[in-house]
Amino acid sequence: MIHMQTNLKLDVLGRVMYLTGSADIAAQLLNIPAKIAFDDSILDFLDHVSKVLMKNKDAKAYPDVVTFGFWIRRGSVRKMKERFEGKDGELRLGKGIAFHITPSNVPVNFAYSMAAGLLSGNGNIVRVPSKDFPQVRIIIDAFNQVLEQYEDMKPYVLFVRYGRDKDINDLFSSIADVRVVWGGDQTIAELRESPLPPRSGEITFADRYSLAIIDSDIYMDMEDKAHVAEDFYNDTFLSDQNACTSPRLVVWTGSRIEEAKRIFWDEEHKLAQQKYIFQAIQGVNKLTKSYLIAAAVPGVKVEEHGDNRIVRVSVPEITKTLMEYRDNSGYFYEYDCEDIMSLAPLCDDKRCQTIGYIGNRKAVLPLIQSGIKGVDRVVPIGKTMDFDLIWDGYDLPALLSRIVVLA
C-alpha cells in the first residue's frame, strides 16, 4: 500500500531537485530501517564529512562552515552522545523519516538540521535555502563526496531544493514521522496546510527575538574590549542583526553604565565601519523605526550618532510592545536597568528567545524563575548563534526519536 502511494506520486518526486541522492533513492526512504540514535555508523559518517570540510580550502573563508565542520567531528558528537543517548534500560531509536524545511536566508542552518535528524537516527529530507549561498554548495559537495563511500547512508541524507510547491510539501509531509520547520511564522503556516500522519510530530521554529544584558562594572573590568566588540559583532551584524538570536535590545546594569556604553559602542562602531556592508535603504529604515517608536512612546531618546551604521534608541521602560518596533542591520534599543524584573513584560512573551550576557548569568534567574513564558537560552555574548541540540527550548533528539522501554 505504501508502495502504491509513492508510485502514484512519482511525478511529484520528479519535480524536486536532488542535491544528494535522486528520486529513486528518495523512494527508498519508506523501506530503510531507523537507526539507533548516535549509532557508530552515523558518527563515522559525520566525522568523515567533518574531515572533508576541514580540509577544503574554500571552506576556510566561511567561519560558519568551519564551525559546522567542527561541530560534527567525532569528539564533539561523542559529548552530545553522552548527553542524549538512551539511559540504562532504554533504547533510543530514530522515529523514521524527518522532513526539514530550512530558512531561505541563513546559509548553514540546513546542515545542523540534517545533523540533528541524522544523529537521532532518522532518514532525512532537508529542503535547503532557495538562495544559492556558497556555503550550501561547499557543505553539500562534502556530503556527496563522503556518500560515495557510504552507499547505505544515501537514503538517510537527502538534500533537496524546490520552490514553494504544495504538492511536494504534501507528499513529504504524508510520509514524515517528524516535520522540522524553520523559517518563521509564515513558513509554518504554509506547511500546516500539508497534513501529517496521526503519530507524527512537528518541531516549529517560529519568529523570535532576543536581547543582551551587560553588567557595566564587569564590562569595564574586562581587558580585551576589542574582543568583546568582535563577539557582539558576530552575534548581530554578521547576520544583519536579523537572526532570531540577534540582540535587538541591550539592557545595561551596574554602576558604570554611561562609561561602559561609550566605550562599548565606540568599539562596535569601529568594527562595523571596517566590516559591515551598509546599504542605503538601511539608514532610512532605521530613521523610520526610531520616529515610529518616538511617536508612540513618550520619553524615547534617539542617541546622537555620527553615521547610520549603528542607531541606538533608549527607552524609559520595557513594554510588551517594544519588539513591534524592532529593526535590524544595526538598530538597537537600550535600557538602563535597576531591577531585572522590569524586563518581564518583554521576556514573558513566547517570542522572546535568547538572552546574551556579559556578567553573571545568575542575575537573570529571578526573572526566569518568576515563570515567564519566553527566554529559552541564556548564553554569553559571542555564543548566541552557537547551535546546540537543545534549541529554542526544544530537546531535539527527544523530539526526533522514540524511546523503547526495555523493562
Binding site: 520552490g163 523559517g183 544583519d240 536579523n242 535603504i281 532610512v284 531618546k301 534617539v302 553615521d307 547610520n308
Partner: protein, 364 residues
C-alpha cells in the same frame, strides 16, 4: 511672510540666497506649528533633542521618512477641519500614505501648482487631453495620487477629453473629433508616464501602421509618475521623446517629479531635461551613510521640503528616491533655483535572518 504673500512671487525668480532666507523663515514657522499641533510630531522632535532656536537654515530641520505617513495618521488639525484625504496609489496589499488636508492647505496646493505649471505652459487655458480613463476620478471621497494629479492639472484645461475608456482602450473616434475641433490650437496633454507608453503610444503606433494617424504637433505633454516600469521595458527618456515625436509629432514634453505627500510643489522638467525646484519647495540630496548633504553631482537620497503643508507635518520629508543636484540658478532655460535629476528608487535591503521574508515567495 505668509503663504499668501509668497504665492505672488514668480516661482523661479529668486536666487539661492533669497530663497534660502524665504524657505528658512517659512519652514521654521511650519515646524513650530506642527510641533504645537501634532503630538506625534512633537514627540519625534523631542526624541532627537531638536532645538528650533539653534536653526540657521531649513537644511538643519528634521526630515520625516515618507513611510511614516503609511504607518501613522499624522495631522496638525482637528478631524472636523479635514476636507480631503489623499492617498498614494500603492498596489493592492501595499500600505498607502494618508495625507490630511484642510481648506487652506488644499487651496494652497492648487494655487501653487497653477503658478508652477503656467510658467511652462502659459497662463491661458487650453483644450486638454487626459491620457487616462474617466473612472479614476469617480470616487472623490478618496483621492488617489493618480486622480489628484488629473484633477490638479485639469484646471489648465478648457475643453477636456479622456483619451482612454474604462477598459484602458484608446477612444479613437473621440480623439479624432476632438482634434478636428481644436487641432489648430495649442493642446495640453496630461497623463502618467507608463500609461502614456502602454495605452497611448503603443496604440498610436499600431494605428499608424494601419494608416490612421493623429497630429499632435501643437501639443504640450506633461507626464509624471516615474520611470520604474519603463526602465524595466528598457525605454529611456530619450526614446520616449523620440518615439512620441515619430508617432504623432508631439515635441513639447515635460516630465515632472512629485509625490502625494507634497502635492502642489511639483518639480517640472525644462527643455534641457532638468527637473526644477520652485521657490515653494526644494530638494536636498543626502548621503545614505550619515545623512549629510551631498555635493553637487553626487548621488544621494532625496529630501524634499515644501512651504505648503499646514494641516499635516509633511513640510520636510526624506523620500526613498535617489538623485543628484545638477546645478543652482544657472540652468540655460533661465529659471533660478536648484535643478536636479532622479536616478530611481533605493533598492530594498538584502538581509539575512531566520524568518523567510515575503519576497521569498516569488523567488522560486
Amino acid at each position: 511672510m505668509t503663504y499668501e504673500e509668497m504665492i505672488n512671487i514668480p516661482p523661479y525668480s529668486l536666487d539661492a540666497d533669497e530663497k534660502e532666507k524665504l524657505l528658512t523663515d517659512r519652514l521654521t514657522k511650519l515646524t513650530k506649528l506642527h510641533q504645537k499641533n501634532c503630538p506625534e510630531y512633537a514627540r519625534m522632535l523631542g526624541a532627537v533633542n531638536f532645538n528650533i532656536e539653534k536653526i540657521k537654515s531649513y537644511k538643519e530641520l528634521p526630515f520625516l521618512p515618507v513611510r511614516l505617513f503609511k504607518e501613522l495618521e499624522l495631522k496638525s488639525v482637528v478631524s472636523e477641519d479635514v476636507v480631503k484625504t489623499m492617498t498614494s496609489s500603492g498596489t493592492t496589499g501595499q500600505a498607502v500614505s494618508r495625507i490630511y488636508l484642510d481648506r487652506t492647505t488644499s487651496s494652497n496646493q492648487q494655487k501653487t501648482m497653477v503658478k508652477i505649471v503656467s510658467d511652462f505652459t502659459g497662463s491661458s487655458r487650453m483644450p486638454m487631453i487626459i491620457i487616462d480613463c474617466p473612472g479614476v476620478i469617480k470616487n472623490r471621497a478618496m483621492f488617489s495620487a493618480r486622480g489628484a494629479g488629473i484633477l490638479g492639472f485639469s484646471v489648465f484645461g478648457a475643453k477636456k477629453i479622456y483619451a482612454l475608456d474604462d477598459d484602458m482602450k484608446l477612444d479613437v473616434d473621440g480623439l479624432k473629433e476632438f482634434l478636428k475641433k481644436y487641432g489648430d490650437q495649442r493642446i495640453l496633454l496630461f497623463g502618467f508616464t507608463f500609461m502614456i507608453w502602454q495605452h497611448f503610444y503603443k496604440e498610436l503606433l499600431r494605428l499608424k501602421e494601419k494608416g490612421i494617424t493623429f497630429d499632435l504637433s501643437n501639443g504640450i505633454l506633461i507626464h509624471g509618475g516615474g520611470w520604474k516600469k519603463l526602465v524595466s521595458q528598457a525605454v529611456s527618456r530619450e526614446e520616449f521623446h523620440e518615439r512620441l515625436k515619430d508617432v504623432c509629432g508631439l515635441e513639447h514634453i515635460h516630465d515632472y517629479y512629485g509625490m502625494v505627500e507634497q502635492t502642489g510643489c511639483i518639480y517640472m522638467e525644462c527643455q534641457y531635461g532638468h527637473l526644477h525646484a520652485s521657490i515653494f519647495s526644494d530638494v536636498i540630496t543626502r548621503r545614505p551613510g550619515d545623512f549629510t548633504e551631498a555635493c553637487m553631482g553626487e548621488p544621494g537620497i532625496i529630501q524634499v521640503v515644501s512651504a505648503i503643508p499646514e494641516s499635516y507635518p509633511g513640510h520636510s520629508l526624506l523620500t526613498e528616491d535617489e538623485g543628484a543636484v545638477l546645478g543652482v540658478d544657472d540652468c540655460p532655460c533661465g529659471r533660478k533655483g536648484k535643478y536636479f535629476k532622479i536616478n530611481g528608487r533605493l533598492r530594498n535591503a538584502e538581509i539575512r535572518g531566520c524568518s523567510d521574508t515575503y519576497a521569498d515567495k516569488f523567488e522560486a
